[in-house]
Symmetry: C2
Subunit: 231 residues, 2 copies
Amino acid sequence: MTEAVGLAPVGRDTVQDRVYSELRRALIGGLFSPGQVLTIRQLADALLTSTMPVREALGRLITEQALEILPNRQIRVPPVTLARIEDLLRARILIEGEAMALAAARMTPRHIASLRAILLDWEEMRGTQVDREVTLNHAFHFEIYRACGSTVLIPMIESLWLQSGPLTRAAIYAFSEAGANDAARFHHDILQALQAGDAATARAALVADISRPFAYLKDKLGADAAEKETP
Amino acid sequence: MTEAVGLAPVGRDTVQDRVYSELRRALIGGLFSPGQVLTIRQLADALLTSTMPVREALGRLITEQALEILPNRQIRVPPVTLARIEDLLRARILIEGEAMALAAARMTPRHIASLRAILLDWEEMRGTQVDREVTLNHAFHFEIYRACGSTVLIPMIESLWLQSGPLTRAAIYAFSEAGANDAARFHHDILQALQAGDAATARAALVADISRPFAYLKDKLGADAAEKETP
DNA sequence: GCCCTTGATCTGTGATCACACTTGATTTGA
DNA sequence: TCAAATCAAGTGTGATCACAGATCAAGGGC
């Protein structure tokens, strides 16, 4: 066989893969509400395909805990509870913190430049487009995680993002409207620490970054419960 | 509706679920070799069903990284590499260690008794039935992990076991034949530490327990490579 | 003799249909 | 009037068929 230089393998993508990616994007972006029920046929109609790719994509999302299946066989995005919030936050601090620490030791100038570029893009359009903001936040974090060199941790982190997406939806919009977005500061802290190869500081900044929307969510949930008690 | 007392919900299980469970059992038990190629129709024939439940079960296992899909769309169990061994071991120490520490703080006498019973069963038939041994080892660990109170960590640990199953296959049989099975000692250490509520010691004993087969595997892989160099 | 082409076979993928079950509104009964 | 029974629409699940791509062996050309 002749050596084809410089050509990346193309790899046909199936309909199922596209459906899966689309649902993932929607989940992480908070387009689905906690507790919302999804049906295969309805999604198939919306995505202009048959039920087959959709049901396989949903099955995959269910095993990732991104969706849950009720005894009635109904499929829904898991509702928000205080226990789930704390559980997810703890897991994310544990695993993403470790990935961040690992990445700190393997940073190249190329990575740093790429991160800086994402941060620049992000600052340019702060507050204008929420979904674009979500995309850039995702890109920033996973550019780092991919550098950690672990093919085991990364899919787990993706699963965690999938699970927290619907929960942090409320927080995303609240922060975006308030404009008081100190995510930029945390991201700069992370970048600076990574540049210095300081794993501990990078991890601490990440924990702060992750914790913020969850803390907001916990407050909001407590306030809602109190309001319900005394209407 | 009248209140039906004392009846547990039955919850119909689908063919897909049975196929999925069966494949999981086989994977964790090391019945499949690293690198082995699986085909949908062949598995469907072996399991006496159609291709439909099998392909959905395989899809789920692929998203869990328990199986991988090649650019040719072939499905196989991931081959063993040194990097993968170290990657998996690190992740298991991180996540299972955390679950163990959490469980140490939530142990009830009921849990302790259950663990002791499993350990007793295990000692009774040490070395006689390999697959029974695998089952009891699985039961022991997950009895603990279930007690950690995290619905997020447990599926991740299951995914990790699914991924390490085929790798540790060699180690399982080697230890079983050698009879020099000090897993019993580690398990006793874990139980004792849990009883005392000593999270740090429990975690350390777990790390020793997990690391053992991986260390054996690394040695074996190195020896095989050296043997190949000088035939 | 060696390499390329061709062919049959097997693979995963997608679409469609049949079925059992759930669910919600309607109708029937007292 | 209210509750129970009934019917119809909609759900996920499984089986079957059609199809494009991959694989590998035998055949044909240089």
